[in-house]
């Protein structure tokens, strides 16, 4: 099981690096899908199949489709890819990369020094998830509901039809109807 965890982690990290370095936005989003699938596999290898499937349904299957939808509507051509390429000069990313690499090395040293925790081997029972969501964490669930409702109200407000201004002939016609 450990091997599955490490392989899927490596896939997820590699895909995420590719997301950052692609010039073409749709290619970047495709790698993001692979990264989400990798994360879903991590959940699965840790014994959480429910979270894994939700990760695929919500993130890979719905949210990224919307992202790609928007990118398709914008129809970014070759110019934006060239611009992205110009922004990705080595002098802009080498400095921060070296510094974060040092921090990563420190983190790895610290992690190996501390005692390791064995990976959970049992699968989470599906029925436990709703029971804890609607029992122990019911307030959090309801607060999230408020938050999402606010989002929907905002979207409805933005997408509301503007008042129609008609030419006077058409107005008469409409009133006659």
């Amino acid at each position: 099981m450990n091997y599955l965890f490490y392989i899927s982690s490596i896939v997820a990290i590699a895909a995420t690096v590719m997301v950052i370095t692609r010039h073409q936005p749709v290619h970047a989003l495709l790698y993001l899908v692979v990264s989400f699938l990798g994360v879903a596999m991590i959940f699965l290898s840790l014994g959480a199949p429910f979270v894994a499937t939700l990760e695929i349904i919500l993130y890979a299957g719905a949210i990224i489709v919307l992202f790609i939808f928007v990118v398709m509507m914008l129809n970014l051509g070759r110019e934006s890819a060239i611009q992205e390429k110009q922004w990705m000069q080595p002098k802009t990313w080498i400095g921060p990369s070296i510094l974060t690499a040092i921090l990563l090395g420190e983190l790895l040293v610290l992690l190996t020094m501390g005692g390791s925790v064995p990976m959970p081997q049992q699968t989470v029972d599906l029925k436990k998830i709703p029971l804890s969501l609607y029992g122990e964490y019911v307030i959090a669930v309801e607060l999230t509901g408020f938050l999402l409702m606010a989002g929907i109200v905002g979207a409805a407000h933005i997408g509301r039809h503007k008042k129609k201004y008609l030419h006077r002939f058409l107005k008469q016609e409409e009133e006659a109807v």
Binding site: Q24, V26, H27, L30, V33, P49, F50, A52, T53, L54, I56, I57, A60, G61, A62, V65, L66, I68, F69, M72, M73, N75, T123, L126
Partner: protein
């Protein structure tokens, strides 16, 4: 079960499914002709059944052209995504109590996850073609499939509530006394409508809409890449029929004079024929009509169905 048995089941399922998908080329043409009072394929072989062979050979030997203005790698990947995701969904379908690739405990959620990944084939195929008709088809496909996916999941949750399990094996066993079509008629209708939209079959084939968009998202595809979209569509029909049978019509259950697999295939085949009958008889709705019905009528109906089912289930259990 030993490893070898698993391998045999996987190979057997793949063999049967791909043959069904190929055979449907003939079945669809023949049935459409019958319902529309035409002759249909009748030249190659008895009743024209060798049209399957002729069509496949034609697809294999056609020039497989990638347009120079297309995004090459995405263009190649897109048709594989649809076949891959549909074949992955068949992992959870119990053909008989023994013949099932894996009875996952997330069961039906896995089917929903894989069918939500199927959208990518349309979106990427249409985008990579770099063609205005294809892009329009891809945008229609994306919005249609997202809209109909939402209540596709919700319409199945009534059955899950009554069973108390996501496992398809448990769901079939719970229908020993009564098929869920009796208790969840609304769920069945909603799921089937969503299924037609997911497989973008007529009357909901607006991503393709040959009368407006040439061939929609696969206008630029030729040869075996087009063949993959073609096979993916037939596999999708088989998948939706198989899931409908499993969730609402008792899967492999039936009287004992026929073996379980025969019952499963008979029921599935009846739904495949229903898909073809729909194609033969219904006109295509307009794009905005499709979206309005989806969000304003079918989604609230699915939510109401879920609420009533939940209330009744609570009342019965006390």
């Amino acid at each position: 079960m030993t490893v070898m048995q698993h391998v045999w089941i996987v190979l057997g399922v793949l063999f049967v499914l791909l043959n069904i998908a190929a055979g449907l080329i003939w079945v669809e043409r023949r049935m459409l002709a019958m319902w529309q009072d035409r002759l249909g394929p009748n030249r190659a072989g008895p009743l024209g059944i060798l049209i399957v062979l002729a069509d496949t050979l034609k697809l294999f030997f056609k020039e497989d052209w990638i347009p120079p203005f297309a995004d090459k790698w995405v263009f190649i990947v897109a048709p594989a995504v649809v076949v891959g995701s549909v074949l992955m969904s068949f992992v959870i379908i119990p053909f008989t109590p023994q013949i099932i690739v894996s009875d996952l405990n997330v069961g039906i959620l896995f089917f929903l996850a894989m069918s939500s990944l199927g959208v990518y084939s349309i979106v990427l195929g249409g985008w990579a073609s770099n063609n205005k008709y294809s892009l329009l088809g891809a945008m229609r496909g994306a919005s249609q499939m997202i809209a109909y996916e939402v209540f596709m999941g919700l319409s199945l949750m009534g059955v899950v509530m009554l069973t108390g399990s996501f496992k398809l094996g448990d769901i079939v066993n719970a229908q020993k006394d009564m098929w869920f079509v009796v208790k969840q008629p609304l769920g069945l209708i909603l799921f089937f409508i969503a299924g037609i939209a997911e497989t973008h079959r007529l009357p909901f084939d607006i991503p393709e809409a040959e009368s407006e968009l040439v061939a929609g998202y696969h206008s630029e595809y030729s040869g075996m890449k087009f063949g993959m979209f073609f096979i993916g569509e037939y596999l999708g029909i088989t998948l939706i029929s198989a899931v409908t049978v499993t969730m609402f019509f008792g899967g492999w259950l039936g009287w004992s004079f026929l073996p379980p697999w025969a019952w499963f295939f008979l029921k599935t085949f009846a739904f495949i024929l229903f898909f073809i009958l729909l194609r033969a008889s219904l006109p295509r709705p307009r794009y905005d009509q499709l979206m309005e019905t989806g969000w304003k009528i079918l989604l609230p109906l699915a939510l109401a169905n879920l609420m009533i089912t939940g209330a009744v289930a609570l009342l019965i259990r006390g």
